[in-house]
Every structure is written in C-alpha cells, then in structure tokens.
C-alpha cells in the first residue's frame, strides 16, 4: 500500500469507480478504490452484501454489461498495462489465461450440456494452442490435481452428475488450465457445506503455493480471511475502509466497522446464549450515499464531523496499515502472547 514501493506489482488498482446508471438514479457500487497485489500473495476482500466486493472483481476482469449502464473510471494495472484501456479483443486474451475467475455458483460457470473433459480441453486447445491428444492428457492431470477421484472416467461426465463440491473443483480445474498469474475467487465456498468448504479452500491454497499464483479471495466471512489470506481489504458501501496484513487486521483493527463485523459473528469460545453485538441499522443506499463517513449512522463512536466530512484513507507513521476513520480505535498493545 506504500506508494514508494518501486517494482511494479502484479495488479494495481488506482482510484477505480464503477457506477450503475439505473432508472432510480446512479448507484455508487465501487467508489474510488485503490489497492495493489504482489505476485504469489493472497489478498482477501471482505465485506457484506452490497459492499461492492463482487462488482470490483468483475470490473477488474471487465465482464460487466457493455450497454452503457456501467460507468467506469480509474485504472486497473496488470503487470503495468492498464486493462481499462485495452480493446475487448486483447482483454479476451488476458481473461482465462493471465487472470482467471471462480464464481460462487459453479453451475453458472459450467456448460450444463457439455462433458467436463471437453470443457477443460477447450481452454487448453483454444487458449494455449495445445494439440488435442496432449490436451486430453493435461485435462486428466488437472482433474487429478483438484482432487477428483477416477480422473479419466470423470472426463465423460456432465456437470449435473457431480455434487456441488465436485463442480467447484471442476470450475477450479478450468480456471487453472490457462495457468493464470492471478486467480479471482468470488465467494467460492459460500454455496458449499463446511467440510467441503475446508477441502476447497485447502485446494486453492495448495495450488496457489505450487504455482506461485496470486489469489484474490472475495468473502463475507472474516474467519476465512483469517485462515487463508496474507493481506486484506475491508469494503463498506463501495469503498475501502481498512487495509493491512491479515494478522494486523485481526489483532489490531482501527476502523470501527471492522471491529463491529468481528464482534457480530457468534464466537465458538463463548458460552451458549451470549448476547451478540449486532450492528444496528443497515448499510446506506448506494443511490444516495451520505456525504460523510458511510458507516457513521451505525457507528457507536460517531461524532458530528463523521456525518459531514468523509475521512480519507490514511496510515500512521511507520505503518502500512491504512484506514478511513476520523476517530480510529486505539491500538491496544498486544496483551495476549
């Protein structure tokens, strides 16, 4: 996050805006977002519904509607090239090869009437120009690498024959087929059971390490962020409100929203019937965003200034931990070991 870092990162998003022109007004889905991601790192983007985390990922790979309803501004620099300025023809080369994506619902990214093997070899033949026989061999390897048993037999099956977890493994195999440098996983386990969730997240981490691939893991679950990411960005109402290393965020949150998000989830260590610290109210309407801090209405620490002036992202001296808050939480000196 330090602007003085010299070498160009794998991905750098600079002051990105994605607004939707709707019949009821302009929705500020992503509103001035900047972050950078180094090669081989895993970045978590965490936020609740409507925070802009999924729109952000779709803006990065440029798959939002092209009918004029989407208003974009800003830069998405991938290995130094601004993807926002690339013609669709060049962007198609990047999508699926340099940057691949895995979605929440694997059924929506798989073709229901095509055999699994065909869906993988297609990427290998069309994207990498691999000969058919080699592609088939590689497809078996890919299916094996994502932990699907009897790989050779599975190639002839259709997505409907597989469980949700197996479908997500196939979607990951397809994403990996193009050997991407960046994999964006948008709530990849939200539709899956907890035991399968752990299997899929472990698989993603293993692949990330083996391939030295960068991963953006989009989730609403801070527990997943804690366990599977190196760095984290917290989004609220279209903006980044806090960003730092994952460990730093969990131990020393500075933005009251982050703290509130952590406290509102039931904690397994607490006894039954522990009263939860719910966050009162709701996120603001993105059609009419408030002029001050967007969390001010729900913030227990808000003062007058908070509803009139928007706090900019700032960081303390000697720290790359950034947050947007007029009255950040005190850094509690590490009490626990």
């Amino acid at each position: 996050m330090d602007s003085k870092t010299s070498a160009s990162p794998l991905l750098e998003v600079v002051d990105l805006y994605t607004h939707f022109d709707t019949p009821r007004g302009v929705a500020h889905a992503v509103d001035g977002v900047s972050f950078r991601l180094e090669r081989g790192r895993t970045l978590g983007i965490v936020g609740e519904s409507g925070s802009g985390k999924s729109v952000l990922s779709r803006t990065i790979i440029d798959i939002l509607a092209k009918d004029g309803s989407v208003l974009n501004q800003g830069e998405v620099r991938f290995e130094g090239r601004d993807l926002m300025a690339l013609p669709e023809k060049d962007m198609r080369e990047i999508r699926g090869r340099e940057i691949a994506m895995v979605f929440q619902d694997p059924m929506s990214s798989l073709n229901p009437v095509k055999k699994i093997g065909k869906q993988i070899t297609e990427v290998l033949v069309k994207r990498l120009g691999m000969p058919g026989a080699e592609a088939k061999r590689r497809a078996v390897e890919l299916i094996e690498s994502v932990g699907i048993p009897d790989a050779a037999q599975q190639l002839d099956r259709f997505p409907m024959h597989l469980s949700g977890g197996m479908r997500q493994r196939v979607a990951i195999a397809i994403a990996l087929a193009g050997e991407p440098k960046l994999l964006i996983a948008d709530e990849p386990t939200t539709a899956l059971d907890v035991t399968i969730q752990a299997q899929i997240l472990d698989l993603l981490r293993r692949q990330q390490v083996e391939r030295n691939m960068a991963v953006i893991l989009i989730t609403h679950d801070l527990g997943i962020v804690a366990q599977y990411t190196d760095d984290v960005v917290v989004m609220y109402a279209g903006q980044i409100v806090e960003s730092c290393s994952t460990e730093e965020l969990i131990r020393r949150p500075r933005m009251p929203y982050t703290e509130a998000l952590m406290n509102s989830a039931p904690n397994l260590a607490d006894p039954p019937h522990t009263r939860l610290d719910a966050i009162p109210g709701m996120p603001p309407n993105l059609l009419r965003v408030p002029q001050g801090c967007r969390f001010a209405d729900r913030c227990p620490y808000a003062a007058e200034k908070c509803s009139t002036e928007m706090p900019a992202l700032a960081h303390d001296e000697d720290s790359s931990h950034i947050y947007a808050c007029w009255y950040p939480l005190e850094v509690k000196e590490a009490v626990s070991a």
Partner: protein
C-alpha cells in the same frame, strides 16, 4: 427418552421419498423430545435430513412411519381440521425470507392472514394485533404496514416472517436456517430477536442450521445429524467442549475462525456425504471417519447415552478413547 415435560416428542420417525423409482429413507428411525421452553439446535450438512425433520414435525409431509406427539396429541391421528387448529401453535420460518412473503400483498395483510384464516372478523382487532407483533420484532408499523416485501431488506423481511409466525401465539417455532441468507451483522440482529421473542412469548424453538457457531449461540441442546440419523446429542456447552462423535469433532475443526490466523485448522474431513439411495453398511459415517475399524462396517452403532444427557452413535467415541 420420553420426558414428562416434553412439548414435542418424536418416536421412531422415518421419512421416505422415492427417487427414480427407488425408495430411500431421508430420515430413519429417529427419537427425540423437545422440552417446553428449550431451544434444540439441529445441525448437519446438506442432505442430512435436518430440514426434512422440521417439516415432518409440522406434518408437511407427514412422516412415513413413527409418531409425532405435540402437547400430548399424536399428530398423525388428527383429521385435516384438527391439524389446522394445531398448526397455529406450531409455526415454521424459512431460510429465504423474501420468497416466503407474497410480493403482491401489503405487509399488514401478510401478517394478518393467519388471523383471517382463523376466522377473526374484527378488522380493528386484527390491526391492533398486527401492530403489536410488528413492534415486537422491531419493524415500525406506521411505515411498514402499507408497504410490500420488495421494499424491505432481507433482514427486515425475516422480521416480518417472524411477526407472522408470532401472531397466532404459537408454542413451538421450527426455524429452518433462518439466518443463513443474511449478512453477519443482520444475522446477529435476528438471533438476538429470536432470543427476545422466546423470552417474551414463552416459545420453544427447533433451530435448524448448518452453522455450528450460530447453533451453539442460540441452543440449549444440540443434535448433530448425518445421513438421516442422529450421531450425537448433548447440552450445547458440553458438545462443543467434548464432542464424542468423530463427525462432530470433524465439523468443529473445519470452522475457520479468527483465532486461527494463517494457521492450518485440523485436517479437513475427507470425502463427501454418501448418497442416501445407497448408504454405507454399519455406521453411516464410517466412509469418512478417520477412526473407522472393521466393526464399524459390520455393525450399526446404537444411539446410546455415555454420560447424563449426552448421547452418541459410535462404537469408539472420542471421549472414551482419551480416558
């Protein structure tokens, strides 16, 4: 396991479905009592039979075999009209609050509908009752009554669903994944609300969820289901402190939480839940169990008590191995 103060008893309940001509048991031969005033959590993965259990209790559809007794009456012996009367006291709320509400109707009509069906003719009294329950669930009646569901967020729609369930003054509410579709901050609001309503209206809850942390927070006792059977049942605090069934322990190890920054959680449970069309012999969980032995394939473990109030269906429960 029949207790004297049981509000609801399930005895030898089996629910069968037919899939492509083959009959299979979604729930096989389960027994449990729910005491008046308690919250029983029912937890498990998709396809374990937890929702089927909730629906079989309200007889939608009725179980294939076995008996559900509510307030001392065997529900399978009631005729249609009697069952309608009982259902007022036996309500259910669902996972998706938005699709549970008729999009064309106003909130006041949605919430008042059970009263209309019950034959309450006095419109002024109906409105009074609707206002009362809406206020109780934290929805402002003055602004909400004339609006339609799409004008509310998911959390508010779930509050409206709870208001509609409460208006008949039920004894028991089956909550089928009521917070799974909600954001974590809203989930906390709804869980707190359910606790408040339980206190205020003297409710008994059957709380069905796949989320172990949520279930621990709201439940007095927790039952863990796997492939149509109970594998463990104990007090909420106890089952988390000393899970006896390897499946319960495995489920708990897989929850990512804030205390595990960057660390590897326990080994993920291998494999997936088998098809109920062709369940494994012996113990249903043995195909994924790290401790499975020959006996587990040959002999189905009995659901037995290992300490007061703590039941487990396992030949080699974890707590006994340690001691």
């Amino acid at each position: 396991m029949s207790a004297l103060n049981a509000l609801l008893s399930i005895e030898n309940m089996t629910v069968e479905y037919t899939n492509q001509g083959q009959r299979f048991a979604a729930i096989s031969d389960i027994n449990i009592d729910i005491a008046e005033g308690e919250t029983l959590g029912l937890v498990g993965e998709s396809g374990c039979g937890k929702s089927t259990t909730g629906r079989a209790i309200i007889q939608l559809p009725a179980p294939t075999m076995g008996k559900v007794t509510f307030e001392g009456r065997d529900l399978s012996e009631l005729n249609h009209e009697e069952m309608r009367q009982v259902r007022r006291r036996l309500q259910i709320i669902f996972q998706d609050p938005v699709s549970s509400l008729n999009p064309r109707r106003k909130v006041k009509d949605i919430v008042a509908e059970p009263l209309v069906i019950a034959g309450m003719k006095d419109a002024a009294e109906r409105e009074r009752r609707v206002r009362e329950v809406l206020e109780a669930v934290g929805v402002d009646p003055d602004t909400a009554m004339d609006r339609r569901p799409h004008q509310f967020s998911g959390g508010q729609c779930q509050r409206i669903c709870i208001a509609r369930a409460l208006i008949m003054e039920p004894k028991l509410i089956v909550c089928d994944e009521p917070v799974s579709a909600l954001d974590v901050s809203v989930q906390a609001q709804i869980l707190n609300l359910l606790e408040d309503m339980k206190e205020r209206y003297g409710l008994t809850l059957l709380f069905i969820s796949h989320d172990l942390a949520v279930v621990k927070n709201i439940s007095d006792r927790v039952a863990v289901m796997y492939l149509g059977k109970f594998c463990e049942l104990a007090d909420s605090a106890r089952i988390y402190e000393a899970p006896a069934h390897p499946y319960t322990a495995g489920l708990m190890a897989t929850i990512p939480d804030l205390s595990t920054i960057g660390a590897d959680a326990g080994p993920a449970l291998m494999g997936e839940i088998p098809s109920p069309l062709n369940p494994p012999s012996g113990c249903h969980f043995r195909t994924r169990c790290p401790h499975a032995q020959e006996r587990c394939a040959a002999e189905e473990p009995e659901f037995r008590q290992i300490e007061s109030g703590h039941h487990v269906a396992c030949h080699f429960p974890l707590t006994e191995q340690e001691s």
